[in-house]
């Protein structure tokens, strides 16, 4: 292996990328665009849900009840609707997501110590959001009831408010959110996206880069020369690894600054792992490029082959631990999960070498296998 030849190929590759403006733009813009789009676009925060109320009672008590909703940061009060029909048509037009209906006689019945039924109509279009809304509505209602009961028992039976509270809800559940104390969607998806983007972009870039050489016919310069396969592949890929690593740093910076994700772990570990992952992703692209002949099929296969597994089987949307067995096996076979462990471990969990070395070892093994396979499969004397 001659370093000078590797350098020659790398330099040429780099010059070509640098001067082809469209390609250069793709190399650096795609990851950033993806990061912004996916980071902000996959926001799972459920806040400021627009809603209207229909108050058939129009009393002090009903207004008080309504205030519990309109004052919550989760809801965005859009005003009063005259009747269900009007409100429902608003919901049909996606202007509101939730309708609160307060029946007539609301105040009267409550003051008489009776039960009263209110109703909430929730837009079920966005499944996850509607579930969360349902939970919020129930919680606000439960709080309101607690107040009502405390006041009622205090008035009727002269009980101490604390005793009433102990009687009504003896067990309180105190939730501590670990790793993502503020329950910020950007913290988790924002940092997790580094994994997804850095799985797709380097693979795509590499696959296109190698296939481009095949398509144009300049690959014959390599075939016809005395450069060895290893030299060619190393030289060809070094620029892509460098670009991808640079991209990874940019994305990390975006996660830290733009999304405000904290970094609790070991930066050195993170950098080392990043190099491993980037070479792994490049290896995937390299492998694809050996199988196909045109840029179009390279792009298609790489996109499909990295995006779906990266999103579905990495733990980004659904934890690997709650997957069924076939999905679990698939998740373990792909590199995305290990990188996600490292990213979340480093950013959110503050884990170190002792926790993450296993993941890193697997990534290293993964890239070695891919590269080895690619070098082995690359032929300098082809059949067609």
């Amino acid at each position: 292996m001659k370093w000078s030849r590797i350098k020659t190929i790398s330099t040429k590759e780099w010059l070509e990328i640098w001067r082809d403006k469209l390609y250069l733009a793709m190399a650096f813009l795609i990851p950033v665009i993806m990061m912004v789009v996916l980071g902000f676009g996959m926001s799972m925060d459920v806040e400021k849900i627009p809603f209207v109320a229909i108050d058939y009672d129009k009393t002090e008590q009903s207004r008080d009840y309504l205030h519990n909703f309109s004052d919550s940061r989760y809801f965005d009060y859009q005003g009063m609707a005259a009747n269900e029909k009007q409100a429902e048509s608003m919901m049909d037009q996606n202007k509101i997501r939730f309708i609160l209906i307060i029946p007539p006689g609301f105040q009267e019945k409550l003051q008489a110590g009776k039960k009263v039924q209110s109703q909430s109509l929730i837009d079920g279009l966005f499944t996850y959001q509607s579930k969360v809304v349902k939970g919020y509505v129930l919680a606000i209602n439960a709080n309101y009831n607690q107040q009502l009961l405390q006041n009622w028992f205090a008035k009727k039976q002269g009980m101490k408010p604390s005793d009433i509270s102990a009687m009504l809800s003896p067990v309180s559940l105190e939730t501590r959110y670990l790793y993502n104390e503020q329950m910020s969607s950007l913290w988790s998806t924002g940092s997790g996206m580094i994994m997804l983007v850095m799985l797709m972009a380097p693979a795509l870039l590499t696959a296109l880069g190698v296939v481009r050489e095949k398509e144009s016919g300049s690959i014959f310069n390599i075939y016809a020369s005395t450069v060895t396969r290893t030299e060619f592949i190393l030289g060809k890929l070094l620029p892509y690894i460098a670009i991808s690593f640079l991209n990874l740093l940019v994305l990390t910076w975006m996660a830290l600054v733009l999304f405000g994700v904290p970094f609790k772990g070991d930066p050195v570990l993170y950098l080392v792992a990043s190099v491993l992952f980037v070479s792994c992703a490049t290896g995937i692209g390299l492998f694809v490029s050996i199988l196909v002949k045109t840029q179009a099929s390279a792009a298609l296969i790489t996109l499909l082959g990295t995006m779906i597994p990266g999103m579905m089987f990495s733990g980004l949307l659904m934890p690997v631990s709650s997957m069924d067995t076939p999905a679990k096996i698939e998740a373990h076979l792909l590199p995305g999960m290990y990188e996600l462990n490292i990213v979340w471990g480093s950013f959110l969990k503050g884990q170190g070498w002792s926790d993450l070395w296993g993941n890193m070892a697997i990534l290293a093994l993964y890239s070695m296998v891919l590269w080895g396979l690619a070098i082995w499969k690359f032929k300098k004397r082809v059949a067609s």
Binding site: V37, Q93, N94, S118, Q119, D123, S130, R212, P319, S321
Partner: protein, 379 residues
């Protein structure tokens, strides 16, 4: 005029024939409309299913076991009991469990004394969806436990008999009462697929003619640039509408049992307008790409921001404010709004005529710009 249409039809027929002969493309499009939509519908469930948890029970009493017994399928899967904090945290760190329920030693004692007690839930919130849902379900469970305990201490058998003021909230979820994730995701994915193809296919058809040099022959023929482009858009409309039919009736309807509440014809009509709107961008893509690979990449680059500004994954109100203003620029946002409304809400033309008009206007602007760009390149 008749001649004009005859030429357009001849060219449309040619595009369709060519498409049908390109097996790779046909398979890819079929995969997008069937496989991709299926994977999206069945793959990711934004739900809490079998979430692995452990319980750290310092009390080991009947009450504590009673409380813990509520953690069950389909939401939770209790992996067992652990004794030390360290052990529990290790499991959390490794991602083997997503939550620890920490029950204090005096749990039962305090309950019996009528005192308040608390259970600590340590929740892995690195995945925010799971975090939110786990918290929400656990709270509901705890409320149920409280109610049972209250009734027990008050020796009331039937909760209905309590005389106290209470607001009973009856909840009704519209459009998707059972909250099935399999309803939302496949439709969303199908719309994304439509967008990608409406961007890529016209671009691909033009780029391919550029690559093979056949465009030259068309430009010297007595055809206006619009006449060259229009058949390609028509062909793409036909291909995508066919795909949509398969996807809506086959995958979304038959496999995931999503009810189609509105008019199928209206949905196809809206889709047609949408494809027209997006294909203008496709013309742009064709003018900057030199080969199919590039066309695909650039389509992807254009698709991304469109998705961001569309509300395909999250409702608009969840977006940052600046984004909400930019939404008007993404044809996809109008389409998603109208599409969901028609499929799940049964919206009629009266309800959606205004966004439809907006989409048409936006599409016309894009198409016109694309045409200018294409013309400029021809020269």
């Amino acid at each position: 005029m008749r001649l004009w249409w005859l030429r357009v039809f001849a060219l449309t027929q040619k595009e369709l024939l060519q498409f049908s002969r390109d097996m790779i493309l046909v398979v890819a499009v079929a995969w997008f409309f069937i496989g991709e939509v299926y994977v999206a519908g069945s793959g990711v469930k934004m739900e809490l299913i079998n979430a692995p948890v452990v319980i750290m029970d310092h009390d080991r009493s009947e009450a504590s076991r009673d409380w813990a017994s509520q953690l069950k399928a389909p939401y939770y899967k209790v992996l067992g009991y652990v004794n030390s904090q360290q052990e529990a945290y290790d499991l959390l760190d490794k991602g083997e469990v997503i939550a620890i329920f920490d029950i204090p030693a005096d749990f039962e004692k305090r309950l019996l004394l009528g005192q308040k007690t608390s259970i600590q839930l340590e929740l892995d919130a690195s995945n925010i969806i799971i975090g939110n849902l786990a918290n929400s379900y656990s709270s509901l469970m705890n409320a149920e436990f409280n109610q049972k305990w209250m009734l027990k201490t008050m020796k009331i058998v039937d909760a209905e008999t309590i005389q106290a003021p209470m607001v009973e909230l009856r909840q009704k979820i519209y459009y998707n009462p059972e909250g099935k994730a399999t309803w939302f995701m496949p439709i969303s994915e199908m719309m994304t697929v439509i967008t990608l193809l409406a961007l890529f296919l016209p671009a691909a058809m033009i780029v391919r003619e550029k690559e093979r040099g056949t465009i030259e022959q068309l430009t010297v023929a007595p055809l206006t640039p619009f006449q060259i482009l229009f058949p390609k858009i028509l062909a793409v409309e036909i291909i995508i509408l066919l795909g949509v039919a398969v996807s809506v009736l086959g995958v979304v309807g038959a496999v995931f049992q999503v009810p189609f509440r509105g008019s199928l014809i209206l949905f196809f009509f809206v889709t047609m307008v949408y494809i027209y709107a997006v294909s203008g961008l496709g013309l742009f893509i064709a003018s900057v790409s030199r080969n199919l690979g590039q066309a695909l990449m650039v389509s992807f680059m254009v698709l991304m921001p469109m998705m961001l500004l569309s509300g395909a994954w999250t409702p608009k109100e969840a977006m940052p404010e600046f984004q909400q203003y930019l939404v008007v620029l993404s044809p996809l946002s109008y389409y998603i709004d109208m599409g969901y409304s028609i499929i799940l809400k049964g919206a009629t033309i009266q309800l959606i005529w205004w966004p439809l008009l907006q989409l048409f206007a936006l599409g016309s602007i894009l198409f016109w710009l694309g045409l200018i760009q294409f013309n400029r390149q021809l020269k």
